[in-house]
Symmetry: C2
Subunit: 502 residues, 2 copies
């Protein structure tokens, strides 16, 4: 029966994101004999490899008889070669879905139930709608502390895990996100490692923002390091500033985040497990978590921030990692540049002690570094800030940054954008607010982060009193289309910058 269920593979080149899709003709013998219809879940076998995929049924001439098309992720996961044979059969019953239904019915899940769900998700046994169902019934405060601990440990268990022999303390920092420009990581890592502490920092690329730390660092040096490279750089410099995406530290998290984002669901349990599982898998022992609070930031009230902070600390302790949460001002962007190159310029100007360097970015980085020192050396915040400021002001952080970048492959010159356009202030006024989300979208429409040089540079901060015709921001883009599209968006967004007439 098995051999009769074979079709020749066609690479469709279709990106269905993470969900494997198989395209089969409605008149093919397998669809007919199995009674398969669109959206059925099926098992694809190719040699030793096997994935569960969603079926799309094709009518007409898109596929030749006796062939099956595969989406990009299905090709990739199977390691398939065009023209080779694929076996298609009914998908097995995924028994952990009964635990999801248990959660639908409001019951608490055990550590083992959570572990099996996460294992099945990480091995791609869940469809997107099944993941959406799981996330939805876990959000809204429906995971208790035990369940969040279980979820964190389950996520660690199904990925790779780093260890750092000979090191007692491994530091990390993380920002919950939502503030454009807030590029403190390269500064904090340079300050902390300049003091001899180990901080092997891996960061993400932008997902919904105009730049992630990995994008900003990519404008300056190589970030696509494998595990051996990371070890070598850390041995040499006590730190790294690498992209974490290739390391498979929390494969389940990647599956969950994608659906969470599509649903615009920020389940706190999921958020905590996501952040902490990656820290634990990376071998971190101590971390500070920056939680910016503001009306257009990710976290919008102090109450929410305090609840998050308490859960982070509690779950971290249960999983053996020391967490200090810092609730910070999230009312406006930090720094002046937004987009990889523009943020890199801010970082460099702070490191180099440039007189025009954005003071808010400098202060935010010193504040975070001071708390990491306080945590590591068991000293007061005041001692920490003194230590951090000295390292930065004496140029040791800048030296250390160059040391790290050199170990990662050397510094690259920052590219210039092909098009620049400066918007001016409409009349004499005081700037009362900036909408973080809309500003981020403006920078993205200009082409960030795909074009490293694209983005924008603010010439103002909230509270500034401005005269008519003074520069408000400069937009950078690599194509006329992107520039025009971004400016058209800007002209429609009357609440992006809010002014009080003076």
């Amino acid at each position: 029966m098995t051999t009769s269920h074979q079709l020749s593979i066609v690479d469709m080149g279709i990106d269905t994101h993470q969900e494997p899709v198989v395209y089969m003709r409605s008149d093919c013998h397998i669809c007919r004999s199995e009674g398969f219809t669109a959206n059925n879940r099926v098992t694809l076998r190719y040699g030793e490899n096997c994935v569960i995929a969603t079926l799309n049924v094709v009518e007409g001439q898109l596929l030749a008889p006796d062939t099956a098309g595969l989406s990009k992720i299905a090709m990739h996961r199977l390691g398939a070669i065009e023209g080779q044979k694929l076996t298609v059969s009914h998908a097995p019953v995924v028994t952990s879905l009964s635990s999801v239904r248990k959660k639908v019915f409001g019951n608490k899940l055990s550590d083992i139930e959570i572990a099996v769900i996460i294992k099945d998700i990480s091995t791609h046994r869940y469809s997107d709608i099944e993941i959406a169902s799981f996330l939805s019934v876990c959000a809204g405060g429906r995971l208790d502390v035990d369940e969040i601990i279980g979820l964190t440990q389950a996520m660690v268990a199904c990925g790779q895990r780093l260890s750092w022999p000979g090191q007692v303390m491994i530091l990390d920092k993380h920002c919950i996100g939502g503030l454009p420009g807030n590029r403190t990581t390269p500064l904090v890592v340079s300050i902390i490692s300049a003091a001899g502490l180990v901080i092997p920092k891996t960061s993400s690329r932008a997902i919904t923002s105009p730049a992630g730390t990995a994008d900003t660092m990519e404008a300056l040096t190589t970030v696509n390091l494998d595990l051996a490279d990371i070890r070598r750089v850390v041995e040499k410099t006590n730190a790294c500033l690498a992209w974490g995406g290739a390391m498979n530290l929390s494969p389940a998290d990647d599956m969950l985040i994608r659906i969470e984002r599509a649903l615009d669901l920020d389940g706190e349990g999921q958020l905590i497990a996501s952040v902490l599982s990656k820290k634990i898998a990376a071998g971190s022992t101590h971390a500070v978590i920056d939680i910016p609070v503001g009306p257009t930031a990710k976290v919008r009230s102090s109450k929410e921030a305090e609840r998050l902070a308490s859960l982070f600390t509690h779950v971290g302790a249960a999983c053996g990692i020391h967490i200090r949460c810092l609730i910070t001002d999230g009312s406006q962007p930090v720094g002046l540049g937004i987009g990889p190159v523009q943020e890199a310029r801010d970082v460099l100007s702070v490191l180099q002690g440039d007189a025009n360097a954005p003071q808010d970015l400098r202060e935010r980085a010193l504040f975070l570094a001071a708390h990491l020192f306080s945590l590591s050396f068991q000293e007061s915040y005041e001692q920490g800030i003194e230590r951090a400021t000295a390292i930065l002001d004496e140029g040791k952080a800048w030296q250390q940054f160059q040391h790290i970048v050199k170990a990662q492959g050397g510094i690259k010159p920052l590219p210039e954008a092909r098009y620049q356009h400066t918007e001016v202030v409409p009349g004499t006024c005081r700037l009362t607010s900036i909408d973080n989300r809309k500003l981020a979208r403006l920078a993205k429409l200009a082409g960030a982060p795909a074009s490293l040089a694209a983005g924008l540079r603010l010439h103002v901060k909230v509270g500034d009193v401005l005269t008519e015709g003074a520069p408000l921001f400069t937009l950078f883009s690599d194509s006329e289309g992107e520039r025009d599209y971004a400016l058209a968006y800007y002209r429609e967004q009357v609440t992006l910058f809010m002014f009080n007439q003076q």
Copy 2:
């Protein structure tokens, strides 16, 4: 800006079920300038028509430059023609998703919030994962009675609604499902309408079962009636036995059921709203609901059945429809035939008073008809059963059935299956149980309901004492492949029939 966002339409012929998908080249100017990536939600505009679709990004040669491929449902909803221009832009924010998030956070939804969600779902503004999220947080008893009433009324509001001028009472019957063969509808409708009562019955085709009432009736006559046909048949005969699928009575329900089924989630609130909204939209005033209970039926415990019955009655009353729920034996199939033609044979044999007609099917139909009489004429069940039995035994139901079928287009001869195979009893024993679900799957693997003649006929009922070599069931199929595949499945299912050795 709008005209530059156009591409030429290509009909991909891909059935993505209900979710519209647009296929766009990764290097097309729209993906680049909008920053679109796989799984983004986009708005497709074609002339006056507009749908929200999910983006799949194509690399390679599947699409020519400046073209966009559309899935079948996207072509259909847009009424698109190949080669014409399509405009693609960011999907609008669907504001009712904030109500879904409110429900995620455990808050009660108002009637208006529910109405907007259902309206948005019925007009295809939700992605599948968004529908999955909504269903998941409404299941598990998380909708209270008010919310179920709101959901029912919202579903009625967004579809067509029938009225029957001059009729005070419009009857209906519904079975929650899960029992193979249980084809009481044609019998009940014939008995009830023979007594002069109006019962314009529309039924569904099989979704997960080997036959729906519409499939069984399709083996006998025309069921694909439009509204004018239904009115004409009902005026002539007081009844019809039509397929309800073309009538658009509850478009939101169609969207929800599809995802519910994929998640294997039977949210009771959703179930009640689904059933009652269709009855109310069809203009029904009185209905009996058959709730079979058994270990392999849809409802597995009396407690669950009683809770459902209470909610059905309560919500029905609030929506102005009289509901009587009947909790029945769901431990084994009803009747002997399974699959459209085989079930039609059982129905005909009961109507014709055949001595070999399955008694359990006859009794179940009389029981349901008696309750409808009791509800309509405000008489006792005993009076109802007397009335129903007389109508059936005097041949009036059979006359009435022929009358209805004639009005729908006349009777068709039942086709014979090309292949028949009879399994025999392994040894002298007593049959102790039949697994409804596995039996249904066996009939489906044989080709039911796509092949009307496919399915199976039981030669035994639970409790029968059987001798070695006696016939157990006969399998009907139209291809050798389906026969072999079904029999291979049967040989693996040791718990499909359970025997006690005698």
